[in-house]
């Protein structure tokens, strides 16, 4: 068979539809999941910060409400703030009051601040205004603090900064925890979607896989058409291919009919000419006779070549060997009935088949067998086997055989080993050429029976 031209190296993406579809889906799945994750984490963080700010605001309001100036003029709290964290050292929630007549830092402080004070950045606040800052807190932490400036009615000229603060870890921890859970959940989702994509691509492309198998069956000659029902999107392609196959078959059939008609049109007049000439002793008649013989060989040879030319146009066909040999042996027994020939076929397995058209295989083997029967003294033997994916058929006879020079000459175009037997030699050349068209070969050797051994190799199917 003709060698497949080398496929130019292309990126894997271009070669595989499956890979392209999968890569596309996976990129989109990953992008969508990642964006969702970032947005959700951000939204949650914002929510947590708002909650924290609301909580700080609550504490600040409580602090403002409990703050008073004692009759002796010192600032104090009417009662401690309710949150228990404020009395545990470094518990993460703090309050502090700055200012007073001397502008003291840490005038009043929660117990949770222990022996430290919050350093609040300098700020100018209008009365009652609330500001939020992120600053360094106690115990190497960061805190978010909220402050408010008040001027008590008792000391209208003195400003007090009331401050509450929360360790930012209390904000970050839940956000990080949420992010971790979110990542796991989204990861599972992405895996699920990926698996679904793989499954979908697999199911979606399955008809193409089936089609490839059907095509393979056609190529190997097991079927003549792509069989089975395909989805609406693929069916037109399958129909087109089937139409093409039918068209090919019809073309080959037409070509053969034409060749047959041509043979008929040319050979009948040739027969008449030759017969008319044979009854006439003149020089002209002798010339006609000779030329008719030549014309016959030319027509035979070129018809055989025409057959070989259409042979390659057909996609691979599978032809079982056994029925072809059986049919030809029946013919040989008739055609050579006058000679007491023993045509023996050693057990040719029913499974042996060659890749090619039945008529072409018949043509090749018919020519080989006919040649063997023509020259055999008593015996013709046929054996067949497969070796290395090739079908090997030996046809032996016990005739005179051919010497080495004759053997190579007889396979060459148009050369006849013996002009006295009509068409001899041509049959072997035709068989040789047809076999080569199919990627097979024909070799001539000395047979163990003493005559000629023709060894035909054809691609096995």
């Amino acid at each position: 068979m003709t060698a497949t031209p080398p496929v130019p190296a292309r990126p894997a993406m271009h070669r595989s539809l499956r890979l392209r579809l999968l890569a596309g889906s996976l990129v989109w799945i990953l992008a969508a999941v990642a964006i969702t994750g970032v947005l959700l984490a951000d939204l949650f963080g914002q929510h947590v910060r708002e909650r924290v700010d609301a909580e700080l605001h609550g504490h600040l309001d409580q602090l403002t409400a409990l703050f008073e100036i004692a009759p002796d003029g010192t600032a104090t709290l009417r009662m401690p703030l309710s949150d228990p964290r404020l009395s545990r050292p470094y518990a993460g929630l703090y309050w502090q009051v700055d200012g007073g007549p001397a502008g003291t830092i840490g005038l009043l402080r929660s117990r949770s601040l222990w022996d430290t004070a919050l350093s609040v950045p300098p700020d100018t606040l209008a009365d009652g205004e609330v500001h939020v800052h992120d600053v360094d807190g106690p115990d190497a932490s960061r805190v978010r603090l909220m402050e408010r400036l008040i001027r008590p009615a008792e000391q209208p000229d003195t400003a007090y900064r009331l401050i509450v603060a929360l360790d930012t870890r209390q904000i970050h921890e839940p956000v990080e925890e949420f992010a971790t859970l979110l990542a796991i959940a989204l990861g599972v989702l992405a895996l699920g979607l990926g698996a679904a994509a793989v499954l979908q691509v697999g199911i979606g492309l399955a008809p193409l896989g089936r089609m490839r198998q059907a095509l393979g069956a056609v190529r190997d000659g097991h079927t003549r058409r792509l069989e089975g029902d395909y989805p609406r999107e693929v069916q037109p392609l399958v129909d087109e291919l089937n139409t093409l196959l039918a068209h090919d078959e019809a073309m080959v059939e037409r070509a053969r009919t034409q060749a047959g008609n041509l043979a008929h049109a040319v050979k009948t007049p040739l027969t008449i000419l030759a017969n008319a000439a044979r009854n006439d002793p003149s020089e002209l008649a002798r010339l006609v006779d000779e030329q008719v013989g030549d014309a016959r060989r030319q027509v035979d040879y070129h018809l055989a070549r025409a057959r070989a030319a259409v042979a390659v146009q057909q996609p691979g066909l599978r032809t079982p060997l056994r029925p072809v040999l059986d049919g030809l042996i029946r013919v040989m027994r008739r055609l050579h009935a006058e000679r007491d020939l023993h045509i023996a076929m050693a057990d040719v397995a029913d499974t042996l088949a060659c890749r090619g058209d039945a008529q072409d295989l018949q043509e090749i083997l018919g020519n080989l067998l006919d040649n063997a029967c023509k020259w055999a003294a008593r015996q013709v033997s046929i054996t067949a086997a497969t070796a290395d994916g090739q079908l090997v058929v030996h046809i032996d006879d016990d005739g005179p055989g051919l010497d080495e020079a004759q053997r190579s000459a007889v396979l060459a175009r148009g050369v006849r080993a013996d002009e006295h037997t009509p068409g001899s030699g041509l049959g072997l050349a035709i068989a040789h050429e047809l076999a080569r068209v199919y990627g097979g070969d024909l070799r001539l050797d000395i047979s163990p029976l003493g005559g000629l051994r023709a060894t035909l190799t054809m691609p096995s199917a």
Binding site: K267, T271, A276
Partner: protein, 220 residues
């Protein structure tokens, strides 16, 4: 021996008929499949030369119909196509031999002779009966080794007897096998020729079986 030639090309059909007549056969002709089928189905031919490419009904169909109707006369297929698959189809349809155009008339005659001989169960081209020996290839009759010369009519008659030695052959059968369809069958020619042939053969070899016909027997 009576032969049916089925060939639609008139010149070739003429050549075939001439050559066969020269060789001592009675020849009927058909130039289309329907006529061929009818003739072969109703007349007793000793052999048929059948072209495959015929108008109205192709040769293989004609042959298939004959065979399924139990007609067993030997058929030699004549065709321009020498594809082996055609030969297989021809032989499987019931043909006995196959000849590709262009052919040598001598080969056609040789093959026909062999077909007729084999159909009569004779393995050799040399037919023998008692002291008589007829070489179907050369048409030469010998009596105890001495050549006997025969006219073509006598040869036809004797050849039919030699193909069926010991068998009672009616006058009708002889007429049907020795003469083409257009021959006037009411004439006494058969009796005349049997009489002439008897004079050239050893005494008593052609017996008359009263009311039935003739029989060729080896003298005791």
């Amino acid at each position: 021996m009576r032969i049916l030639v089925v060939e639609d090309e008139p010149t070739l059909a003429g050549q075939l008929a001439d050559a066969l007549t020269d060789a001592g056969y009675a020849v009927d002709r058909a130039d289309n499949g329907l006529d061929a089928h009818f003739l072969g189905d109703t007349e007793p031919f000793d052999a048929v030369v059948l072209d495959l490419g015929l108008p109205q009904m192709d040769g293989l169909t004609v042959l298939g119909k004959w065979r399924s109707a139990g007609r067993t006369m030997p058929v030699l297929i004549l065709t321009a196509r020498d594809d082996w698959h055609q030969k297989v189809a021809g032989i499987d349809a019931g043909a006995d031999d196959y000849l590709t155009k262009p052919f040598h008339m001598a080969e056609l005659l040789a093959r026909l002779r062999a077909l007729i001989r084999r159909a009569g169960g004779h393995a050799s081209a040399l037919l023998a009966c008692g002291p008589l020996s007829l070489d179907t290839r050369s048409g030469q009759l010998t009596d105890d080794g001495r050549p006997v010369s025969l006219t073509s009519h006598e040869y036809r008659l004797l050849a039919y007897f030699m193909h069926h030695p010991g068998k009672v052959i009616s006058r009708t059968e002889l007429t049907e096998h020795l003469y083409a369809q257009d021959f006037d069958r009411d004439s006494n020619t058969i009796e005349v020729f049997v009489g002439r042939l008897r004079k050239k053969l050893p005494e008593g070899m052609i017996e008359t079986v009263r009311g039935l016909g003739y029989r060729l027997v080896a003298p005791a």
